[in-house]
Symmetry: C2
Subunit: 302 residues, 2 copies
């Protein structure tokens, strides 16, 4: 039995278009309707046949859907919830894929207090954006975290869980506040650090940008991938998960100060001890299938 | 004509063993002698036939070499120079591959003031260490920076340049101080940041290590690769390139504080502007062949 038969996807960027492709690949009898606020994106979506139908308004997309998934930047979730309110079926389940949840859930509940809301954040992505960046296998063997508010219809939760499992994801359920703290450290802080160091490196006056690029294989290039992610989405992530990000950033800064002090005072033992304990984590990430084991990210050396 | 006919490699880790393999693959008539201070590494090197000969002392390795390349951690370069002093031919060229150069050159010059010294730092590597981690193509299409001190015999410089080009590297010559500044930003700071954030993430009390690992695909895992690098080498890099690293770290911290402030005060425009300018750098790195274009580092999604 299909968890849902008519899915509307609002926002056809990397995640929305991957969801559309995944549905058509793994649940081909589900009818997929899409909408994006950007007319060029809608045009592209039609040209590449991303959905069964692409509508010109968000309302038209959701009108007979039994699942609506908002895949828009966190900052406009509330506005989009408002835009679909009048056309949303009272029996529909509403979901969204935001990378920060507590404040987004509150925004949506203000507009749609009665809706069955099952936020589902797939912890997966690439540095590419837009409707052509998506692919059906993006979510395979990745975790999708559901953060349904207290009191949500258990059947709606089970159906959303079923849908993500059919796309190949592992599903975990946790409360939104804890989700936001976990993501602050596994995703938001890394992006902030990567954006910062890439900015620092491009603004030097005694080392040229051309030198930074030429010698990036010394480690710098690893940071440039996630610093190429969508700026609108990431602006909104930091604005909507402020407290957790600031807490993690504070801890990071303290740890960095400690290493800075060890360098300044020539404390080799402290440096060695720190550098020696960080290897185990990568080993576990590879063992659990969340990264490839190939050295150097499997980069070509020929 | 071969640039050198008998090469001694002291230190058979990732770089030393890649150099040995590269020489045997691309300059098969060169005789390669190796030594490592660790008897287990020597044993492995013999077993996998890494060199034509593996000697039990550094002195025995260099005795008839016309090129000696020190591939040991920066912190023991001076001691190794001393260990080979009595056996080094007066006509031999000495090279080393340290990731920081000015202080290493000074150390070596104290012990061997007359030697033709041509440091050559290949900006290439993987997160793996040891004699079995090396491969012949590691240096292909990567940059190798020579930092010969003033007054070095130009013929020795040309020969070392020729050798690295035959291994597939592009060669650049610059002075040691500038090299150290460039590497501080393209390599040392990224490693320090990566080591820090991986440490921060493993020490939290409100997010478990298992959660960090499960949800690492949100960005964190990109940092774990270089934080799995050899701790001894990296301790020595930070101790020997202290001033340049501290300068770059200071700039990074200022930039991070600015973004932290923008988050705290909800300044979305400042965040967007910063995040929007960092995409161009990655594009250039890919265009110049210093990284692959495949999204998500070409990771498998099946």
């Amino acid at each position: 039995m299909l968890p849902f038969s008519r899915v509307a996807i609002i926002g056809l960027g990397l995640i929305g278009s991957s969801l559309a492709r995944g549905l058509r690949a793994y649940l081909p009898t589900v009818r997929v309707t899409g909408h994006d606020a950007n007319p060029e994106v809608r045009e592209t979506a039609r040209r590449i046949d991303l959905c069964d139908d692409v509508t010109d308004t968000a309302g038209a997309a959701v009108i007979d859907a039994d699942l609506v998934v908002l895949c828009v930047p966190p900052g406009v979730m509330g506005a989009v919830a408002e835009a679909i309110r009048d056309d949303l079926s009272p029996d529909a389940t509403l979901s969204e894929v935001a990378s920060s949840q507590a404040s987004i859930i509150a925004e949506i509940r203000k507009v749609l207090p009665e809706v069955a809301l099952v936020p589902a954040h797939p912890v997966a992505g690439t540095e590419n954006s837009g409707p052509e960046a998506g692919f059906a296998t993006l979510f395979r063997n990745r975790w999708c975290i559901l953060t349904p508010p207290q009191g949500t219809d258990p059947l709606a939760i089970t159906r959303v869980e079923d849908l993500w499992k059919r796309l190949g994801a592992n599903v975990e359920i946790m409360d939104a506040e804890h989700h936001d703290l976990v993501l602050a450290v596994t995703s938001h802080l890394p992006h902030l650090i990567a954006y910062t160091i890439v900015g620092t490196a491009s603004d030097l006056e005694n080392v040229t940008r051309s030198e930074v690029i030429k010698y990036s294989a010394g480690g710098f290039r690893d940071f440039t991938r996630i610093a190429a992610s969508d700026p609108t989405m990431w602006r909104d992530v930091f604005l909507t998960n402020k407290d957790a990000v600031l807490e993690m950033l504070q801890r990071f800064s303290e740890d960095l100060s400690q290493l800075q002090r060890a360098i300044r005072w020539g404390d080799g033992d402290a440096l060695f001890e720190h550098f020696n304990k960080t290897r185990a984590i990568r080993r576990s990430i590879i063992e659990q299938g969340q990264d490839d084991a190939a050295p150097d990210f499997g980069r070509q050396h020929q």
